[in-house]
């Protein structure tokens, strides 16, 4: 048989009108080209090309060979195209298993995906069941749940949360009366969202933090939200459903919200996917897009609705029917939740005339505007948070909990203050989390903080929180830690010190260090506490004795800890957060001395910018930080930053942090701010020698 490669080279030679040029284009040496051409000619026993000087002509046999060769080359290129495209294009069939919660909106999501990608198709299954790791064929699973999902090999991506609310049809209320307090619900038929009769489904809470339990056993429990809404519309009782599904019916007046101050537990919407490496481009794209759309849809509070609604009449009916019926039925498996196919609700939405749509849209917009009059004051765009802690633990959780967007700017403490000061003419931040209450005091003196903020859940504050809460409510304490404890290497120090003054002892000569109070944010409160407690002269004497005993000063707490770990020093004056982190890691044998009189402390707080354009979102953020759940989450999420004393009742401390009941001595903010320049300057100039 002919060597197909020879044929390819020959085609290239003809196309480039010469051996040399073809060789350059294919990146092959000229000798190879001419040898292969000669080989081809020898095999075909005829001349294919006539070369005479500059001219280049094909013989008739050459022309034939070229025509045939071109077909072979073309076939190879086609094959390459098709094989490669399959891996990179957004195309193919995706098996999606979705919760009935979003069933009504699925056609829009899917059209948005299939529209730009004609070769993408879906098989859809509407189900509430936990994914079965063995038999479930779905690629992506979207689940709504107020309970925890069963563990599986799939990655759970929390998209957003949506609270349960109590609704009923006006006709029902006329007949049976309107409940005005949670206790009244007992007299009614209750239809609840859930998978089984768990008591926590009936927990209602309000903004003031009160919790009430609905004691009546529900007459119907289902996780199929469409059935619940339909039952509500037919006046069968009070219905506890996710707010998202009832949104349309509430806006049109077909249902009424009851007990507007009270909400049930939040339903989380979770997308389950294979791990990212195991998804091809199509799946990744679909997963990201669906997550994005579901999030914006559920969190939009109606803003997105006007934009999306006009699309309804334009939908080609074929798409909707095909996806919800034609492909769905074969995939429906026995055991799916819900007595009726959830696609019913989709159908009932469809036959709206454009006029009705416009009317509904207007009603919806008005309704949301009325429901959220305060949010309208906020400027557009996400809340901007400046923080030196907890990066990565805030964004997703805050957005899922409150439905508001937040941009987190994380920098070291010094950089944050520099950035805030440089922006003074045109501040860009809305809220600030900072480890050091004196900074808030200083910002407040410059009138940079919003005063008189009254979070609804201020009552959550525990004793620590109450102690440090400023009278003018310009910032709120969210955590307490020690700014310096003594951390020592048990293998290098024989007799540990018991009090700070012991460090002047010659046995520690040159063997201990601390962070520079002029640079490290938490080191200043430590030094300031000594100055306040011992008086100016007393503190100067103490630190002079330290310097004379060879105390080393490091830039920040991180390097101090590293020097201790490497054995450069055997004892460090260091924050409790770093100290207990080094201890928990267990890389080197260390122990902490917490002086009996107490260790200097530092209070972490949150404050709102005086010139914020998003005051409501900022207040919601402060509210959120004063929730026990939030503080427990922050403590659990970040090992080092998380070792703090919570400031609200009911928050869970980290088990690997300082033991409970330690004493903290925090320098008063007035003193710390007033003497800051003096103390830092004195310290810096002393430390030279």
């Amino acid at each position: 048989m002919l060597d197909l490669n020879d044929l390819r080279l020959f085609v290239a030679i003809v196309e480039h009108q010469g051996i040399l040029k073809a060789g350059r284009a294919l990146n092959l040496p000229k000798s190879t080209m001419s040898r292969r051409l000669a080989g081809l000619e020898a095999q075909l026993k005829t001349r294919l090309i006539i070369r005479s000087g500059e001219a280049f002509t094909l013989t008739p046999a050459g022309q034939d060979a070229y025509d045939l060769g071109l077909r072979v080359v073309q076939a190879a290129r086609d094959a390459e195209d098709r094989l490669l495209r399959a891996r990179q294009d957004i195309a193919g069939q995706v098996m999606l298993s979705a919760t009935s919660l979003i069933a009504a909106r699925l056609p829009y999501y899917l059209t948005a995906l299939t529209g730009p990608h004609p070769r993408l198709s879906f098989t859809l299954d509407v189900s509430e069941r936990d994914p079965d790791p063995v038999s479930d064929p779905s690629d992506l699973l979207l689940r709504a749940h107020a309970w925890s999902l069963r563990d599986s090999a799939l990655i759970q991506r929390r998209i957003c949360r949506n609270p349960l609310i109590l609704v009923a049809a006006p006709a029902y209320l006329v007949k049976y009366g309107t409940p005005l307090a949670p206790a009244d619900v007992a007299a009614h038929d209750l239809l609840a969202y859930g998978i089984d009769a768990r008591p926590e489904t009936g927990l209602l809470s309000n903004a003031a933090g009160q919790v009430e339990m609905l004691t009546t056993p529900p007459r119907l429990i289902t996780a199929n939200a469409a059935v619940l809404v339909q039952a509500g519309l037919e006046a069968q009782g009070l219905v506890l459903v996710p707010e998202f599904v009832a949104r349309d019916a509430l806006a049109s007046g077909a249902l009424r919200r009851l007990l507007p101050d009270w909400t049930g537990p939040a339903v989380a919407v979770t997308l389950l996917t294979p791990s990212r490496q195991n998804m091809n481009a199509t799946l990744r794209y679909c997963a990201d897009q669906i997550a994005l759309q579901v999030k914006s849809d559920i969190l939009s509070l109606g803003q997105q609705v006007p934009k999306q609604e006009p699309h309804v009449p334009e939908l080609p009916p074929g798409v909707v029917t095909k996806l919800t019926h034609g492909r769905l039925s074969p995939q429906m498996r026995p055991g799916s939740h819900g007595p009726a196919p959830s696609s019913n609700s989709t159908e009932s939405d469809m036959p709206m005339t454009p006029f009705q749509t416009v009317l509904g849209t207007a009603a919806l917009t008005t309704a949301t505007a009325l429901a959220l009059p305060v949010a309208a004051q906020d400027a557009a765009g996400p809340l901007v948070l400046y923080t030196n802690d907890f990066e990565g633990a805030i964004t997703d959780r805050f957005e899922a909990d409150t439905g508001r967007e937040v941009d987190v700017v994380q920098m070291s403490g010094g950089e944050i203050l520099a950035r805030i000061a440089a922006e003074a003419a045109n501040p860009q931040w809305d809220v600030l989390i900072f480890n050091g209450s004196y900074t808030f005091h200083m910002l407040d003196q410059q009138e940079a903080l919003l005063r008189g903020v009254e979070p609804a859940n201020l009552g959550n504050l525990n004793e620590i929180g109450q102690t440090y809460l400023p009278e003018n409510r310009s910032w709120f304490p969210i955590g307490l830690a020690a700014s310096c404890v003594m951390l020592y290497r048990t293998d290098l120090v024989e007799t540990p010190p018991t009090a700070f003054a012991d460090l002047a002892d010659p046995r520690f000569n040159g063997q201990f260090g601390m962070a520079d109070p002029a640079v490290a944010a938490p080191a200043y409160p430590c030094v300031a506490q000594f100055f306040e407690e011992l008086g100016d002269q007393g503190a100067r004497d103490l630190f002079t004795s330290f310097f004379e005993n060879g105390m080393r000063v490091f830039r920040t707490n991180g390097p101090t800890g590293a020097a201790l770990a490497s054995g450069d020093i055997s004892l460090a004056l260091i924050t409790s957060q770093v100290a207990y982190t080094v201890m928990a890691e267990g890389e080197v044998p260390v122990s902490v001395v917490w002086p009996e009189d107490g260790a200097p402390g530092v209070v972490r707080g949150v404050g709102i910018s005086a010139s914020t354009a998003r005051p409501e979102a900022a207040k919601a953020f402060v509210d959120w930080l004063l929730e026990p759940d939030t503080q427990s989450h922050l403590a659990a999420a970040i090992p080092s930053d998380g070792k703090f004393e919570p400031t609200v009742t009911g928050a869970v401390r980290r088990p690997d942090g300082p033991p409970e009941g330690q004493r903290y001595l925090v320098a008063s903010d007035d003193f710390a701010v007033e003497h800051e320049a003096d103390i830092k300057t004195w310290f810096a100039d002393q430390a030279l020698n």
């Binding site: 920098m411 203050l417 520099a418 440089a422 045109n426 860009q428 490497s566 080092s640 100039d685």
Partner: protein, 589 residues
């Protein structure tokens, strides 16, 4: 024909515009520099005289701040330390860099290409990585003492002289690269003449080649001086703060005070700038005494050297590599593969988990790498163009603001990134800019601008060394033949300095990739950038992850730079070689 048609047009133009095309080029360069460097810098320096000028709390004008530096012990010490460190490092680094460059180009060195890549790598690697490497190696609990039993190493490294040597090891590539660029073209005529007259190789080197290289050597040393003066990361990390405070450290302290003392930062920045200006002026005084445009029509590309394993030169190169790169990076590499540092070298202690962690954490590292690469690429191209224009104007035109261009280009090297970043906030976040719809603050593009500002000075230095060798007579001859500015640049200057231009752009790329200070203070929310990611990991004590991330990113950057520069060298060589045969035959006939 050409003469008669060209003459009237030039006669027409001159009186109408009165400004030469070179002047227009110069004006645009100055405008760009004002926006990128001068205005932000001025905003910070202004703080020294008008405290609170941009933060809305102006406290009047005063010069009292300037004298404070002589009152506080910390600042006196900082001033002295900075001068000491920068001067010693400039001398040691300048000698080392020039020596290595000459060695590389004169003897056939097997380690030559490695040396080239190492020079790039040292420039682009963030100084905190090198510092961390040295600490891991030389501290009391470090590898040298614990693993190899070299008890004298900690005392050798952790003193002012040791620090100066480490600084020069970190910045010698500036001299190496400028001298290498200058060695690219050879005028063998002079060497041959000297050899014919009986001079030995050393004498030729001392009396012919070195004097011709003087501009490059000096600009290398100057770059080192300025770089060390403006560096914050390495001295701060190596010297445990007050044992060796520098001016940049004092700036950092001023910015970290609350209420913030921008005025003190301005004063320090003023002194850094003033010292730098003095150094630049000294440099010019030395250069102005003689001419250095020695390239003629017979200049040739330096020949590609064959592999050679001569012991002495290779040994010297190896020692240099060992000290400058292998020790600090090797320590980082070990840390990145080590599960627990304290457990020493053993097979069970080796792990890839840091790399897996970095590549797996929700794509944060990859997205940071991607955005940093894009930003650095834009900044590199931008600064390559601006630097080329600036160097051309400075070298070949009598533009009146030449001195200003030169000073500005050097200025931003001398000023720490934090200060420049604050200047950027002052300027780009001003309410005026907001109203004009130009609020770039909070937009990724501001990082590109800042990256350009940070990289232009390096690029300009590299290009100036190369352009100084192009005789102005060549350009004048072309101009006489009617070639316009664009044509002169495209056909004469660019081919002659192409290699240096590529070097300059690639250096800018590397520098912009890891600029921590600017990136962290100007970073828009939701944009992951590499230096911030790495630094965050360091701060959280995840040394393994931080070094793994740096090594991955640094490896990628070095690969990009090495790839592009190899490709460029290949293309240039081909272009020049295909044309030279024609040129020589013309000349012979």
């Amino acid at each position: 024909m050409t003469l008669t048609s060209a003459a009237p047009t030039t006669a027409d133009r001159r009186p109408r515009h009165r400004l030469l095309p070179e002047d227009w080029l110069g004006i645009s360069v100055v405008l760009v520099l004002v926006i990128l460097v001068l205005a932000p810098m001025a905003a910070v320096l202004l703080q020294a005289f008008m405290p609170g000028a941009f933060s809305g709390q102006s406290r009047g004008i005063g010069f009292g701040g300037l004298l404070e530096i002589f009152e506080r012990p910390l600042w006196r010490r900082a001033l002295w330390n900075s001068l000491f460190l920068a001067s010693i490092a400039a001398v040691i680094g300048g000698l080392m860099g020039s020596g290595l460059a000459i060695l590389r180009h004169n003897s056939r060195l097997a380690l030559g290409p490695v040396l080239d890549i190492a020079a790039w790598a040292i420039i682009i690697l963030p100084s905190f990585i090198l510092a961390q490497g040295w600490i891991l190696f030389a501290s009391r609990g470090g590898l040298a003492n614990q693993w190899f039993g070299l008890g004298f190493v900690p005392d050798l490294v952790f003193n002012p002289w040791g620090l100066a040597v480490v600084m020069s090891l970190k910045s010698f590539p500036f001299a190496y690269l400028t001298v290498s660029a200058a060695l690219q073209w050879r005028m063998d005529d002079y060497t041959h003449a000297a050899r014919l007259n009986g001079a030995g190789p050393l004498r030729v080197l001392w009396t012919v080649r070195l004097p011709m290289l003087l501009p490059a050597v000096l600009s290398g040393a100057l770059l080192i001086f300025i770089d060390v003066l403006g560096d914050f990361g390495l001295p701060a990390a190596l010297a445990t703060t007050y044992r060796f405070p520098t001016l940049t450290y004092a700036i950092y302290v001023a910015i970290n005070q609350s209420p913030i003392r921008f005025d003190l930062a301005g004063v320090m920045a003023f002194y850094v700038t003033a010292i730098m200006l003095l150094a630049v002026m000294a440099y010019f005084r030395v250069l102005r005494r003689r001419r250095y445009d020695f390239l003629g029509g017979k200049a040739k590309l330096a020949p590609m050297s064959a592999r050679n394993t001569a012991l002495l030169p290779n040994g010297i190169a190896l020692i240099a590599l060992l000290l400058a790169l292998i020790i600090p990076i090797g320590a980082s590499v070990m840390v990145s593969f080590t599960d627990r540092i304290s457990q020493g070298i053993s097979w069970d202690n080796l792990t890839l988990r840091h790399y897996a962690y970095v590549l797996d954490t929700g794509g944060a590292f990859l997205s940071a790498l991607r955005s940093s690469t894009v930003i650095a690429a834009q900044a590199a191209i931008g600064s390559g163009i601006i630097a080329a224009a600036a160097a051309y104007v400075m070298t070949f035109s009598g533009f009146r603001l030449n001195r200003l261009i030169d000073l500005t280009c050097t200025l931003s090297l001398a000023v720490p990134g934090v200060v420049l970043g604050i200047g950027y906030i002052f300027i780009w976040n001003a309410p005026l800019m907001d109203r004009a719809g130009l609020s770039l603050y909070g937009h990724p593009f501001i990082l590109v601008l800042a990256g350009i500002a940070g990289a232009v000075p390096i690029a300009v230095r590299v290009l100036l060394g190369a352009m100084a060798q192009v005789p102005a007579t060549m350009l004048q001859a072309a101009a006489l033949q009617g070639a316009g500015l664009g044509r002169r640049i495209a056909t004469i200057v660019v081919p002659l300095i192409a290699a240096a231009l590529v070097s300059a752009t690639l250096t800018a790329f590397g520098a912009a990739m890891f600029d921590l200070a600017i990136n962290s203070i100007l970073r828009p929310p939701r944009l992951d950038v590499l230096p911030v990611y790495v630094n965050r990991a360091f701060e959280q004590g995840e040394f393994g992850a931080a070094t793994a991330a740096t090594l991955l990113a640094g490896g990628l950057t070095v690969a990009i730079i090495a790839g592009i520069s190899a490709a460029a060298r290949f293309v240039l060589r081909r272009l020049i070689q295909t044309e030279t045969p024609k040129g020589t035959t013309d000349a012979d006939t």
